[in-house]
């Protein structure tokens, strides 16, 4: 049961970093890839149809964490308080930008929303860097690490991995002038290979966080796991099927602007 709980946490956590991380990375590059209002709308259209289905993996990760590792959830989030608050603020700002940009037909409004998407994405990626650096501190009960130069550079590196992953994802989703710009930036490696490479890097980030957490020591009581884990194992295939359907429906390259 304990191992199944860890496997579920890994599944949803890595799922978020690979799928949701791509949206964050593409958002970071919004102004770099999209020159002008129309092109930026295309980049947003590359993120938009699936973003609800990708960010939800993080919600699920938090759910598995609080359900199967409740005391770790409390200690981890408290120990990483500044990083988690920053992550949440960035996430909120990014999402509000996405949801709002198409709702008012004025260039100034869309630019403000694009800035929110881009700045919010950078904030989220940076906060993940801080979480990565601080993950080893959890469970000791310290009120958060004081980052030195080395750990700040490590955090910046994690944020850079997000950006590269966003580039790989954008290469798969976008054609035309924006797609050509992505291809030029990526060099000769090719969109699929870049995406596979950055996905692996994102997974390493996730494993770097997860393997340093005292998971088996903090797992919930057996009676709780006996109810929770089978229930989650039963629904997971349905969730994966729904996700597969979603990706199949939105599989094509972005051809024009969407609802956002």
């Amino acid at each position: 049961m304990e191992y199944a709980a860890v496997a579920l946490l890994a599944l949803y956590g890595l799922g978020y970093l690979v799928l949701g991380g791509a949206d964050i990375g593409a958002g970071m590059l919004l102004f770099a890839l999209g020159k002008g209002d129309r092109e930026r709308r295309l980049v947003v259209s590359a993120i938009a149809p699936a973003f609800l289905g990708t960010e939800v993996w993080l919600v699920a990760t938090a759910g598995v964490l609080v359900g199967a590792f409740p005391s770790l959830e409390g200690e981890l989030l408290t120990a990483l308080f500044p990083a988690v608050v920053t992550l949440l603020i960035g996430w909120v700002v990014r999402d509000v930008g996405l949801w709002s940009r198409g709702r008012v037909d004025a260039r100034g409004w869309r630019t403000v929303c694009d800035v929110a998407v881009c700045a919010g994405s950078w904030t989220v990626a940076g906060a993940w860097g801080l979480v990565f650096v601080g993950a080893g501190e959890a469970g000791i009960g310290r009120a958060g690490p004081v980052p030195g130069i080395g750990s700040l550079m490590l955090a910046a590196l994690v944020a850079a991995v997000f950006a590269c992953h966003g580039l790989g994802y954008a290469g798969l989703r976008l054609g035309g002038a924006v797609g050509a710009r992505v291809a030029r930036t990526a060099g000769r490696i090719g969109a699929w290979r870049l995406y596979a490479l950055t996905s692996a890097a994102m997974a390493l980030v996730g494993l770097g966080i997860g393997t340093r957490l005292p998971l088996l020591e903090t797992v919930a009581d057996g009676a709780t796991l006996a109810v929770l884990v089978p229930a989650l194992l039963v629904v997971t295939p349905f969730l994966l099927a729904a996700q597969a359907g979603m990706w199949w429906l939105f599989r094509g390259r972005v051809r024009g602007p969407g609802y956002f």
């Binding site: 699936a50 973003f51 609800l52 289905g53 939800v56 919600v59 699920a60 938090a62 759910g63 598995v64 609080v66 359900g67 409740p70 005391s71 959830e73 409390g74 200690e75 981890l76 989030l77 408290t78 308080f81 988690v84 608050v85 949440l88 603020i89 996430w91 909120v92 700002v93 999402d95 509000v96 996405l98 949801w99 709002s100 198409g102 709702r103 008012v104 037909d105 009960g141 009120a143 958060g144 919930a220 009581d221 009676a223 709780t224 109810v227 929770l228 229930a231 989650l232 629904v235 997971t236 349905f238 969730l239 729904a242 979603m246 429906l249 939105f250 024009g256 602007p257 969407g258 609802y259």
Partner: protein
């Protein structure tokens, strides 16, 4: 624990959950109405139903999108600010939060994306299934959250083991009466919010003589026809609850009735049981909120009942502008009642976070007041901005009317303005 951190953490959670509740009330109410509109559109293929789905759907999405983010924050706040709670009671209430995210919200979010971006991409029956899945999982999500909340109000199915709780009876947790009563009460309340929202915005357009008579007469009638039975259902489900709450949380009801002698007796009883301390909730907050919630029922039922009669006459629906103005003014009332009911329920539980087991002051995280204050300011200002942008965008989009709806526009329609450049 630092007293200042505690106050700041309580304000932070109250603002987050309160803001979230305002968004959710409208989302839950509108989603059912929307699912029925799209069902009508799919079966009859009448353009008016399709246009109604698109117009009201667009308002639903604005509110959903800006509301969803407050929920994301709330989920993380349990661990951020209340790690004492997850540490002590996590074995029981963590599982229901986990079920909420995976069994309900994961599906809801995935299918909402499919619904928004799947217009004109999938078969209309499949698209109809999408909105129904979103609606049903939204209510499933509400149920699971209320399992968590019900446990905090009235813990069941647990045993105390060492310095924490252990789950012994999952069925008792899932069928906690505190959960079930509240679920139906909130379901009714959400339909009141949704119904008056539909009626009020339709009245706005009828008042302005927008040339969309059929569209808004239908919408107004739908809104009222839903709101009136929903008000009665909400009142009855609330009334039934009162006796039960008196049993499980006598201090909440004593504070509500403001009876000094009863409060003093409960305080003495609690001191004898739990040791010295203050075991009473704030009378002003509980009584004020409870009375606000209950007194709003009268104007809503009165307005709903009169509207039910008036709406039978089409010329009246089209021309009675005083009535239109009253319906517009009534849009905020159900929101006020909802938030007052929430304050009543949550403030009435204090000083306990888990009734009789864990005090709120023992649940707060070991975070410095400075860090907590900084996060309160950050979240507070973001949420204030969210509510402002939400209501401004809702009003603006509502005022522009169905002709301006871009949700679900045919690809040719959507490309129109682009081609014109």
């Amino acid at each position: 624990m630092d007293a200042e951190t505690l106050d700041l953490a309580r304000w932070q959670f109250a603002l987050t959950a309160g803001a979230h509740f305002l968004f959710v009330a409208l989302t839950l109410g509108l989603s059912v109405l929307l699912a029925f509109m799209q069902t009508a559109a799919t079966f009859t293929r009448k353009p008016v139903h399709r246009r109604m789905t698109r117009f009201w759907g667009q308002l639903y999405l604005i509110n959903y999108g800006l509301g969803i983010v407050t929920g994301l924050v709330m989920e993380f706040q349990f661990g951020l600010s209340w790690s004492g709670l997850t540490h002590y009671a996590g074995n029981v209430f963590g599982a229901s939060l986990a079920m909420e995210t995976l069994v309900a919200f994961f599906i809801e979010s995935t299918f909402l994306g499919l619904w928004i971006f799947g217009w004109n991409k999938v078969n209309r029956w499949v698209h109809l299934a999408f909105i129904w899945i979103v609606t049903i999982t939204a209510y499933a999500s509400a149920y699971w959250i209320l399992v968590t909340n019900g446990f905090l109000q009235h813990p069941t199915g647990y045993t105390v083991d060492g310095d924490g709780l252990r789950l012994v009876d999952a069925v008792a947790v899932l069928t906690n009466p505190s959960t079930l009563y509240a679920f139906f009460h909130i379901l009714g309340g959400a339909m009141v919010v949704g119904g008056f929202f539909l009626a009020g915005i339709s009245a706005f357009h009828l008042f302005r003589r927008t040339p969309e008579h059929d569209f808004f007469v239908r919408s107004l009638r739908t809104g009222i026809a839903v709101a009136v039975p929903a008000v009665m259902f909400t009142v009855v489900s609330g009334g039934i609850q009162m006796g039960y709450v008196r049993q499980i949380q006598p201090a909440k009801m004593a504070a509500f009735s403001g009876s000094e002698s009863e409060l003093a007796a409960l305080q003495a009883e609690a001191v004898a049981r739990f040791g010295p301390g203050d075991y009473l909730p704030s009378v002003a907050a509980v009584r004020g909120a409870g009375l606000t919630m209950i007194m709003l029922f009268l104007p809503l039922l009165l307005l709903g009942g009169i509207s039910l009669l008036l709406m039978a006459f089409r010329p009246v629906v089209l021309r009675f502008r005083l009535w239109h103005a009253v319906l517009m003014a009534a849009i905020p009332l159900p929101f006020v009642a909802m938030i007052a009911g929430w304050v009543f329920r949550e403030m009435g539980r204090q000083p306990w976070v888990v009734t009789g087991l864990l005090k709120t002051s023992d649940a707060v995280s070991d975070v410095s007041p400075t860090a907590m204050r900084a996060s309160l300011i950050a979240f507070g200002s973001v949420f204030a901005l969210l509510l402002l942008v939400n209501y401004w965008l809702l009003f603006r989009t509502a005022a522009r009317g169905p002709a301006a709806a871009t949700l679900g526009a045919e690809p040719a329609e959507a490309a129109g303005p682009v081609l014109a450049y």
